[in-house]
Symmetry: D3
Subunit: 241 residues, 6 copies
């Protein structure tokens, strides 16, 4: 079966990561995966939420789609006075995933907030947010070290994410919107540089799936994540970790 954009089943969409697309944030990256465009900004603040253990830091994320990021305009969250439940789910995922990349004790009593704003959404916005958010996070941490605010980089290792899915009984990597909307099974995978899992969300939207299929989807994702982490290394200089 050939894919709508001619890719092979295990091929990522073209990735572009533009660092410093905006310049006020401590770290920022515009990530483009095919037609999906997410602006990721990392902000460092010298305070932590209450639940954080004494002396440690925190990493959190906020995710939002611009009203016309999609094929149809949607109302702003503030107009409905509600954070969209989908955004709530996604920003919790991004936060957990990026926290896994950071030694929170080494960060000290600081919060890094990763704002992921989807300028255009064509599938895979949550995984693009994690992959791009990681760059923003790493750049912000680098700045903390370069500014002698931290003695060493609190980033422990690479983290990237990609989706896979089962469309017409075929396993495909990195679904675009059109594929995603036809997928029977949707699988989002966050991994580190060692190919180990940090987060998995699998959903049998159209049918259930077997443990074997779960494993195959995860393997497919690990192939894509290796390539994404190679890209991250290239951008960040790969010096640290």
């Amino acid at each position: 079966m050939s894919r709508i954009d001619g890719r092979k089943f295990n091929e990522l969409r073209p990735i572009t990561i533009t660092t410093d697309f905006v310049s006020f944030a401590e770290g920022s990256a515009l990530i483009e995966c095919g037609d999906t465009k997410v602006l990721c900004c990392a902000s460092v603040e010298d305070r932590v939420p209450r639940h954080v253990p004494y002396g440690a830091g925190w990493v959190t994320a906020e995710y939002s789609m611009l009203p016309r990021a999609n094929r149809e305009r949607s109302q702003r969250d503030v107009s409905k006075l509600k954070l969209s439940p989908r955004s709530a789910e996604i920003q919790r995922l991004i936060g957990r995933s990026l926290r896994a990349a950071v030694d929170l004790e080494a960060l000290g009593e600081r919060t890094i907030t990763i704002d992921c704003d989807v300028l255009q959404g064509d599938g895979g916005t949550r995984t693009a947010s994690i992959t791009g958010g990681y760059i923003a996070l790493a750049l912000a941490c680098k700045k903390l070290v370069e500014g002698n605010i931290l003695p060493r980089d609190p980033v422990k290792g690479y983290v990237a994410a990609v989706s896979a899915g089962i469309v017409d009984d075929e396993l495909l990597l990195d679904l675009c919107y059109e594929e995603d909307s036809r997928a029977m099974v949707d699988f989002n995978c966050v991994m580190n540089g060692q190919g180990e899992l940090i987060e998995v969300q699998g959903t049998g939207e159209g049918r259930s799936y077997t443990l074997k299929e779960q494993q195959d989807l995860a393997l497919l994702c690990s192939k894509g994540i290796r390539e994404l982490i190679a890209k991250q290394k290239e951008i960040l200089g790969g010096s640290h970790r």
Copy 2:
């Protein structure tokens, strides 16, 4: 290693399911998994949200914790004017999981809302909500058939859920709160009666985990879910499907 409550690594907590604990809902069940108690009520309404295809029905869920369900009192959502993001994430999971159990076309233009209110939370409240919510859902559908509103039961098959985790490098089934708060990896699994996956959420909170560990956690869950579905069959008469 012995568990805090003396269970074996692959042993569920005692389960009690009381149907008709409240009587106005079309279907209801109070599910108790150890000290976790969730009241699940299914309400049938003759209208569907806009996005539902013509002629089809919908199944959705709402999840909430009573303010004193936990060891410490928490503020009500309405006091904060915000659905807790955690509740938003969980109710989306419950909704997706239970929709997988239902032939939405056979349901017709109806919405079944499953309200899952946690009276007491000692770990595993989201999976208990799915297992108990399924009972409420099935009872409500049964009533639709018995009342000659539907010609046949729209429930396609069983759905139940359980958690597993890695605590001190040991894989454990059905974590209680104390185990959950010490778990390095947290894994929630929703399966059907054929042992196939409907939803998976895995989180490496304390460390990353391997594809092999993912598979083992899923297998452990499938053992627990088999027992939960046996319990569901017992309660529902097992006649249908």
Copy 3:
């Protein structure tokens, strides 16, 4: 006239009070008055709202109905982003009533919050909340004394509540939902162990009523409240006050 459930005009519905139905709260009671079921939990916190005089404590209440507590499902308050005005009115009543039972100076700088969550509502939920909330409150105070946090019990005396009404020109005690919806006059009474009034809310919904009828309704309520307080004494051991 015989009542719908065969009771005499001055007869309460069967009362069941289950203490420790949930176990994390400092005090808790599931109160059932006929088909009305309210879960009451008392939480103790070591701080008071600003308006409380220095050194004194506070008792407050929150009241809510689960979405399917009634014959029809209702939206959650958080979905509407508004505390229901009816709930606002009721929780202020519960708070005032239970504060009357407590020596706030003896409580010290603590707040006891009584959460009254209606699992099923068949009339009389506000009065059941007061009667059951009192048990939760008294149990929490007992625990403060037993834990040597307070030298003596700050509960000054018993408090219970019941409704009465005029249905078809007949005065009836403890209206169930069906009676309540046909009542011309609705009367809610909170009294102490000496048969004195703490709160009264009378409403001529269908017609006005005379001062004489007001007195008779209050007398009818005092008969029911005596029985409710006897029940409270039985449960609490009656030792204190």
Copy 4:
């Protein structure tokens, strides 16, 4: 005991009612009871809330204090995104009380909303809102008849309200703020032209009170309400009912 403003125990504060203080509303009255000033406006709209029986009308009320109505400025409800629970309680009381004055069937499918905005609050704002709101309501109904929209006036009879209380063991009528803040028992009474009760709210804030005291407080109120209704008659021409 002499009262702070020299009144006798059973004496009302001076009452001024200015009709048409504002002119766009279908009916309006600025009521002043001592230093308490409430602007009451009645608005007629040709639709009713869903719960109203077919063909019938509805009367409802909204109550609010201007931010600087009191000795200290308070935040606006909209700044807190919450209707104050006290306002919620009071506007429900006003609505119920004024509905008792109207034949809702005769009103037809119309809603009359009585907005009671407290410009200055010196005690007794809820009862002033009812007494003044009645004038606004009656004027609006008069206009419906004069405009040939209704064949006959749907107002069935007079309704007015006043407070009483027990201060230093003395029963006093129409408490001002200073008396109210020292009252042990606070009693609000709504009555019709026949001296019958429509609503009663009694609160033992500082101590409990006896059935006898309840009766005496109601009698004291009935004296004040007779005078208030005389005032209403004077203003409205007394022609109707």
Copy 5:
């Protein structure tokens, strides 16, 4: 062309300013411009928002219309859980305008909040709020000096405001609602006692306008503002500045 109310093109509506219409606020004025009635109250509080420089004070405003201030009833902001965007725009304008009248350093660490509540709106409510709000502000500052809280009056000079507009190609001063709703160009002007501009808002609602017209509108306004400031001086005694 003759105006609807017989005024000349450059004539203000009759102005009445009643100070101390309410008495709890530190300063208050009921301003009536024709049928427009705005109650302005100044409240002094001993704290400032965070953004204010150390040692300095702050002046801010809140603006709201009562629900029946207009020809049709409108919903309260709190019912919509949103400050109306129009109110937001207007209260920012009032705040900026009145801050221009005050030496914030001389005010010290205090906030003066000017609440402008429109009891009846017949055009020009924002400019009436500024003119009347100035009186409330000046009275409150006078009280601070008289009470020896401040050594000297922080009010630097007079501030008043008026609207003008182009209706049927004619420039008119102080539009009433009917004129305003037909105006092609709407112009709001805030000036000081020297006839200099503090704020201008010009809107070509029906057509664009020339720089020459802008100047003429401003001149027309300056004529009206001179008269308004004369009125302010008369009321305030004109002693200060």
Copy 6:
């Protein structure tokens, strides 16, 4: 005096307008004025708000800053459950300004919403939103004509906007953030292709200003707006109007 970025007093910052930066919207433009970057998207919907006259269309705008558009991170509106009053003020200005460019009757029963999301804010975001929003609007209208949905372009003429200000008694065009924060007078001007005014907002933040200065500021703006409209013509082909 030389400006911080070396510009002459009447010189605009470099302008870049990228059309189709995102591709789902009916029209879109990323406008960059110096370091200010605003993404403007026009969405066409086949319905109009209630207040719009029968048969006519509507143009409205929404304005928002991404949380890290500024030097410091700010909370999202949805987190505060409030549209920022500043955003409310600005989006009303943008909406009024762009409506002036459109023949609403020719648009037919359609709403065009212009979303202006500030990716980076370095002063002049409201005027950049108008200038860029105009491009998005014009592109969307062009598409309606090209798609034969409208017989002729409803855009009547050009509209652009720029700020000016008085800094150290010097009149400067197009203030950047640093200049803006030191400006004594801030002036925002919206004009059409004929150099006529559509909207003016002038604020004497640090001092009052004369009618003569007002005129000079407007003239300075008209010089900048001529250049901005030249740019717009270049991008849009200048064919229409």
